[in-house]
Symmetry: C2
């Protein structure tokens, strides 16, 4: 989404969970990794900073230093509230989509982290999702008043939040959002943005 907002052409490479060899050149083992000419950058925040610094004449991802600092707050809110909240609902679906060789590692590492089996973690998700949706109140109230997190048009703060929902949509049929939620309508606008870039990605629902 950040590359598309900047109007930069890019090629994306499909990647599997434990295929560390494919990104070993980046000096670490996590995606996303961006290769931009001679620059190799990992971590979505660092990638956004690189794009903003390298292409300052193109539409801004942060809207200036205050916007960048506050985008950091949004990123931390997503990491503390949205990602773990969604994970608890869809962990078993993620497992079921993994390549056979990745499943054992995923089950073992996640069950150790939660102290429960994957099946136990998602067992109460029909009630859990109600609680999860309540934690999204700051986002919902914001989108009641403006079209995007970043205001009248989307910017990096939007993609930070949207990425969590795109992850859920790609890997699980479970409805993490209610259809009648301002957050769902905002998600729809971002699925349509940049010639429908995100909407074209495979998903269980629009």
């Amino acid at each position: 989404m950040a590359l598309a907002q900047k109007g930069l052409a890019f090629e994306s490479i499909p990647w599997r969970f434990t295929d560390k060899a494919a990104i070993a050149f980046s000096g670490q083992g996590n995606v996303p990794v961006l290769v931009d000419g001679d620059d190799v950058i990992h971590d979505s925040w660092e990638i956004a900073r690189h794009l903003e610094a390298a292409y300052p004449e193109r539409p801004s991802l942060f809207g200036g230093p205050v916007g960048r600092a506050l985008s950091r707050f949004v990123a931390n809110w997503v990491d503390a509230v949205v990602h773990p909240g969604i994970a608890r609902l869809i962990l078993l679906d993620i497992h079921d989509h993994l390549a056979e060789g990745d499943k054992a590692y995923f089950r073992q590492s996640r069950e150790a982290r939660y102290g429960k089996t994957l099946e136990q973690i998602v067992a109460d998700r029909d009630s859990g999702v109600v609680e999860f949706r309540k934690t999204l109140s700051p986002l919902r109230r914001t989108l009641d008043r403006q079209s995007y997190v970043a205001g009248e048009s989307p910017a990096f703060a939007d993609y930070l939040v949207f990425g969590a929902f795109q992850w859920a949509r790609a890997i699980s049929p479970f409805p993490v959002l209610d259809t009648d939620d301002p957050i769902t309508r905002w998600r729809g606008r971002l699925l349509d943005a940049f010639d429908g870039l995100a909407g074209k990605a495979p998903g269980y629902y629009r």
Copy 2:
């Protein structure tokens, strides 16, 4: 804090909880109310917008449109998480500080809202504060990486969050924050900002 950042001289008028007559000229019953020449503005968000529009040549409260939009998200997070979280810890202290004539209204309206007595609401606050501090994780992670919510110097997003802690500090001896918390150190920097404006306000602790 916003007036101080803009470098505007102001007079503040002490006000009691139910003294609606004193602000009736604003056409409603809540503080804050700002009188700026012929303009009368209420609601802290609207006051900040007014100051930013009326004094654009002075230090910016929002850092541009994206910063303003993201400050709205911060405001909504404070309203959804920080204010109710603090209120549950200090409601009885607030009551005890009110003028005698205001106490009955406060007790009645709050007990109706929570479905409990004030004494019951705060009874478990020693354990409740541990949970409250966990909900501040997005703020804590942000202040681990930058001096202020808005980046290298404070702006309106900081005052939105700080206001909640200043409220707690003014009305209750109960420590809503741990002394060894990046949030406490940030609060200290804001108590010192603008010649110690906020630090000079009466409080139970620094």
